[in-house]
């Protein structure tokens, strides 16, 4: 049986889920002729329509679209030129923070976003659009590199890497896990022909967004964040997940109309990166931005995670625990932890005691904290024992606890209890002996 016939017979078995679904009609004569290594006329037309320039390298060609955007343009509720103020704020903040641009100027940042043919980081998915934004004077300089066909990657990375040179201050949204590994993978294929990939440094805004708004937003997609947080609403945007399909169509018939939307989408993403970085910087510094209770709480938590307890405590102490959206137990609990870790043990104990007496204890662990402090810091074994027993009591009421967790917790508490009883025994014996 011929292979072609077999392919036909086993067609149903050969279909795999999650591929393109039903193939579109054969593109016929408009399919670019494989023999022609240069761009077809259609491609040239597309370039003109997109106002992009054709750049070549070693017989390959790519499209590059440049545009400048005035920084006084509003993006949502605020103008893009907030970026200068945002970078300035970090100059006065000597402590480390993942978003800190201390020692940098706004012009040093490279706002970076890519569009790819698929979401996996494997060798078979490509980047077909690289978008870069840089602050130049009172304008945002936006450069978009477009791959008009999979066989042009050498030219694509040659021009991109020749132009950008430094990549040490990228600002991205999930670039750490998504865009950057893909750039590395693709450059690997053409590494002998293009400039070496420079050292890379990163401000990943997804990380920050997740910290601040994960409870508030259902999705952490950039489009959801920009709409809620920045008040920016896109018009006629194509959803990001559609981009690969439009690109695949474009490969079959290079019509500018298929990909215009992707260019616009990518440009909007980059503008959002500028605005979001500004907004986040202002929130963190509490400068001129009204901070909601939950945002303040999450920023405090972030500072606590960075061991900047002074900043965390300052934020929490100024927080009105009765504001809607603020969880009182959470605020007090975090405050108590920060006090404890910064060495303010008295204040920590006071806060924990306040919590258990006002029904704000979050679980067994808050009782255990009190017991620990009484035992180790104050050597007050009777009080420690009393709170250990209250913890045991509380454990019995934790009905949602899975059996193995319960057993583990119970065992630990019994250990503590036994130890405390032994200590008290020694103490009493010592007193009796004295």
């Amino acid at each position: 049986m011929s292979l072609k016939k077999q392919l036909e017979r086993y067609k149903r078995h050969l279909a795999r889920p999650a591929e393109n679904g039903t193939p579109s009609e054969p593109a016929g004569p408009i399919r670019p002729t494989p023999a022609d290594p240069h761009l077809t006329e259609a491609m040239q037309e597309a370039a003109e329509r997109l106002e992009a320039e054709v750049r070549t390298f070693e017989g390959e060609a790519i499209l590059v679209k440049e545009q400048t955007i005035p920084l006084d343009q509003y993006h949502g509720r605020r103008p893009l030129n907030d970026i200068f103020e945002a970078v300035a704020m970090w100059q006065h903040d000597p402590e480390p923070h993942p978003l800190s641009t201390r020692g940098l100027a706004a012009e040093d940042l490279l706002f970076f976003d890519t569009e790819t043919t698929g979401l996996s980081s494997g060798a078979g998915h490509m980047i077909f659009l690289l978008g870069c934004g840089a602050i130049r004077g009172d304008r945002l300089q936006l450069t978009q590199y477009f791959l008009p066909g999979p066989g042009n990657e050498t030219a694509f990375y040659y021009h991109f890497l020749t132009d950008v040179k430094a990549l040490s201050n990228l600002v991205t949204y999930n670039g750490k896990a998504f865009d950057w590994p893909r750039v590395k993978t693709r450059v690997q294929f053409v590494r002998d022909a293009v400039p070496k990939l420079p050292a890379f440094g990163h401000f990943d805004l997804l990380h920050a967004a997740r910290r601040l708004w994960k409870h508030r937003l259902e999705s952490m997609r950039l489009s959801a964040v920009e709409e809620t947080v920045l008040g920016f609403k896109r018009s006629g945007d194509i959803p990001g997940h559609m981009a690969p399909f439009l690109y695949f169509e474009f490969l079959k018939r290079p019509k500018a109309s298929l990909i215009e939307g992707i260019f616009r989408h990518n440009a909007d993403d980059i503008k959002t990166l500028v605005a979001l970085y500004s907004h986040l910087s202002r929130l963190i510094h509490g400068n001129g931005v009204p901070l909601s209770g939950d945002e303040a709480f999450e920023i405090a938590r972030w500072f606590a995670a960075l061991r900047r307890y002074d900043r965390a405590i300052a934020l929490l102490e100024s927080l009105d625990p009765d504001e809607p959206g603020v969880e009182r137990a959470g605020v007090h609990g975090l405050l108590a932890e920060c006090y404890k870790k910064s060495g303010a043990t008295d204040k920590a104990l006071e806060t924990y005691l306040y919590m258990v007496e006002h029904g704000l204890a979050r679980g067994v662990s808050d009782y255990v904290e009190i017991a620990k402090m009484f035992e180790h810091h104050y050597k007050a074994y009777e009080s420690a024992l009393s709170f250990t027993e209250r913890a045991l009591d509380r454990l019995e009421r934790e009905t949602a606890l899975p059996p193995d967790k319960y057993e583990k917790e119970r065992w630990a508490l019994e250990q503590r209890r036994g130890r405390l009883l032994a200590r008290l025994g020694q103490k009493i014996a010592g007193e009796d002996g004295a």
Binding site: H13, R16, A18, E19, P26, S120, A123
Partner: protein, 756 residues
């Protein structure tokens, strides 16, 4: 107090047991060794001496010589013959001489890789030189993955990981692929059938990526005894192979005992249940402190036996010391059992053939097989579990009533003298091939004129381009969809995706307890099925076929369930045909439609049918290859329709059991279906088809040996001691069919013998 019996006492008891059908003693044998070859790095010689290895077994020396000449080779070594040194020696030697050397070890399971890692690292520790040997699998923490990718000198993984993680991300493994000098394929014999056909394609992809990065590794394979190790290794790797089989390892004395349970119903030839007999024998060994492994053929039997054995111990704390081990358990569970066995905390284990592989589980003295494991090769592998380091070992094969078991147990010569079966794969199965062309195109675009290890792929690439999966530009086919192809290709199961088993006994702690392939799930996870896991019974409450989820709840019932599968066949194309005296045999493509129909509830002890229900699942259809035997109308006329039907059903039952005598396969890999009037020829026909879309070469082999197969069936039925037919020959419903089947077979006048 009861006095414990020694192994010698028990052997003496068995000697007097009338049910022992055959006693085969394999005498111990001294080692054949040679001194370390000249070229081996002195540090390595020193390290081995510290570990008590002062010379090499003959096969190890040959392996070293082959590897140093850059020859690809396959070493055939029985259990515990120092096979790992066949590859560790040349590879460590090469790394010591040039630290940038890289080696990739492939093991069929994660557990084996873990095991070999400990062994390798102990040897490396003796060397006093830093050599990075790491496992890379689903359990490897993300934090050390990058280090392994960059600096791992020996990377130990499995074919699944190579397929779905390493090859698709080859750009992250540049230092491995640029310097890859050795690829080790351990337990080569496990790569057979569908799994082997997939793995052969993964190796084609591996070779392609190596070529891209400019390396050409030497392939080293090790295999248990199979009939065609060299041919199989060559088919799997696509390279000419040197065969190394001069085993120089010593061997302990082994008693291999064939045990046939007594007949309890003479006329029907019903024997005592093998499971019950095994239960008693296992109890005898375990109670006397003899560490024992019990093998059972199916998951169900494992669970039933475990259930029996654990109830023996309920009063004591020993319940936990007898455990089950099989596929379908989560890795952490399996790891814990392996550790328990090694450390001696577990005394007995009941296993499916998952433990056939060389996982080091410490010292076991006795091995009991519940029924013949289906192939000579498997039987020897399982037998190798006993006596790894003892002076004497005992292996008991307890026969079930199945025709194959009865044939084996009554023909000990067949078992001890015949070559083991052939391992068959078909890497060019179109469906498997196209799946891997997808994956390969994802890894690197195909260039026009490029072959896939010799296979012309232009038609397939063009087909995939028409399906909008690939895009042709310049002279290359590029992957151009957002899918990740390796995620849709599972190497291990016929079905594309497994059904996940979810335990919802505790609403607060709903958890996944296992998974199963789609085809098995039709008969094992239908609603109301009793599913067994670690000796606990679960009832399937809901089977979500679309989402591939089975929701189960723990129950305590005294029955198990057994489901029927109705099968329809249609011949699509005849590729080969030949005439016999009163029949014709053919080979070609067929469409098989299978539907689970009803299930029965069967009581544990009595095997009574205590209820039934219908199964509402959609029909599954596969296209595959099949051999078939169509009998002439004349024969049907001579016998009359009812008798012809009886003969056909009985013969199909015999052939189902005879087929594994000739091709190495799992019982579910080949299906046998009788049709009294097949639609394509209108004749009584028996089909033997590969239970995998596109076929994997089993039925093709069976087509070539139809005569031999029919003769084996005839011998089975002739030598069965029953009177008119029994489950051991013509099947459970075949009472009275025996003379009919025999007459039918005699009428065929088939020549030839099965002994090869």
């Amino acid at each position: 107090m009861k006095v414990r019996k020694s192994l010698a006492d028990i052997l003496a008891m068995l000697k007097a047991d009338p049910n022992v059908q055959h006693w085969h003693t394999i005498p111990g044998r001294a080692a054949r060794t040679v001194p370390f070859p000249e070229g081996v790095d002195p540090r390595l010689v020193q390290a081995l001496k510290k570990r008590g290895i002062t010379a090499l077994y003959t096969h190890q020396a040959d392996a070293y010589a082959a590897a140093s000449r850059g020859r690809d080779f396959v070493a055939v070594t029985p259990t515990a013959s120092g096979k790992t040194l066949c590859y560790n020696l040349p590879i460590l030697d090469a790394i010591l001489k040039n630290p940038s050397t890289r080696a990739l070890y492939l093991f069929p399971t994660k557990a084996l890789a873990q095991d070999q890692k400990s062994e390798l690292n102990e040897l490396i520790a003796e060397l006093g030189v830093t050599i990075h040997g790491d496992t890379y699998d689903g359990d490897t923490p993300a934090t050390i993955r990058q280090k392994i990718r960059k600096a791992g000198q020996i990377v130990m993984t499995n074919p699944d990981m190579l397929h779905s993680s390493i090859l698709p991300h080859h750009t992250k493994w540049v230092s491995l692929f640029e310097n890859l000098q050795f690829v080790v394929i351990d337990e080569l014999h496990t790569y057979r059938g569908v799994f082997g056909s997939h793995v052969a394609n993964v190796i084609r992809r591996l070779k392609r990526i190596c070529a891209y990065y400019g390396s050409r590794p030497v392939f080293i394979a090790t295999s248990a005894t199979i009939a065609n190790p060299k041919e199989h290794a060559e088919r799997l790797t696509g390279r000419p192979m040197v065969l190394i089989d001069n085993n120089g390892a010593p061997q302990v004395t082994k008693h291999f005992i064939f045990y046939n349970p007594p007949v309890v119903h003479q006329a029907l030839n019903i024997r005592r249940s093998a499971s019950l007999v095994v239960k008693e024998l296992a109890k005898l060994f375990l109670e006397n402190g003899i560490r024992t492994i019990v093998f059972a053929r199916s998951r169900l039997r494992v669970e039933i036996l475990l259930n029996y054995l654990q109830t023996l111990n309920t009063a004591r704390t020993e319940r936990a010391t007898i455990r089950a081990y099989r596929g379908g358990y989560l890795p952490s569970e399996r790891r814990e059992i392996e550790r328990g066995l090694r450390e001696g905390k577990i005394h007995g284990v009941v296993s499916t053939n998952a433990l056939e592989l060389g996982v080091d589980i410490g010292q076991l003295q006795a091995c009991i097989m519940t029924g013949y494991p289906g192939s000579i090769s498997s039987a020897w592998q399982q037998a190798g579990r006993a006596g790894r380091r003892e002076d004497e070992a005992v292996i008991l094969l307890v026969a079930t009533s199945s025709p194959l078991d009865q044939y084996i147990i009554q023909h000990p010569d067949y078992f001890f003298e015949r070559n083991p079966e052939e391992a068959r794969i078909n890497p060019d199965n179109l469906i498997i091939l196209v799946d891997h062309i997808r994956c390969a195109a994802y890894e690197l675009p195909f260039k026009k004129g490029e072959t896939f290890d010799g296979i012309d792929v232009e038609d397939i690439c063009t087909y995939l381009a028409d399906q909008d999966v690939l895009h042709f530009q310049g002279d290359k086919w590029f992957w151009m969809t957002d899918a990740f192809p390796a995620a849709n290709v599972s190497l291990r199961s016929a079905a594309q995706d497994n059904v996940v088993i979810i335990d919802q006994t505790h609403p607060g702690a709903v958890k996944v307890i296992g998974e199963m392939d789609r085809f098995s799930a039709m008969t094992l996870l239908h609603e109301e099925a009793i599913y067994m896991h670690q000796g606990e019974q679960y009832q399937v409450e809901k089977l979500d076929w679309e989402e591939k989820k089975a929701f189960v709840r723990q129950v305590d019932v005294n029955y198990y369930t057994d489901a029927n599968l109705a099968v329809q066949l249609e011949v699509l194309e005849v590729d080969k045909e030949k005439r016999g005296p009163l029949f014709e045999t053919a080979y070609g493509d067929v469409a098989v439609r299978a539907k689970a129909t009803i299930f029965k509830k069967i009581r544990f002890e009595t095997h009574d049918n205590v209820g039934w229900g219908t199964i509402h699942l959609p029909e599954e259809e596969i296209h595959t290859t099949s051999a078939w035997i169509g009998f002439d109308g004349e024969l049907e006329e001579r016998f009359g329709k009812p008798a012809a039907e009886q003969a056909l059903v009985g013969l199909a039952h015999l052939l189902r059991h005879a087929a594994p005598l000739f091709v190495m396969c799992d019982p579910q890999d080949i299906e046998v279906v009788p049709m009294i009037k097949a639609p394509h020829n209108g004749k009584p026909t028996i089909f033997l088809y590969d239970q995998y879309p596109g076929g994997i070469g089993l039925s093709e082999k069976l087509y070539e040996m139809t005569d031999v197969l029919l003769n084996a069936a005839r011998e089975m039925v002739e030598r069965c001691p029953c009177e008119t037919g029994c489950p051991s020959c013509v099947g459970a419903d075949g009472e009275g069919a025996k003379p009919v089947v025999l007459k039918w077979l005699k009428a065929l006048h088939v020549e030839g013998s099965h002994v090869s």
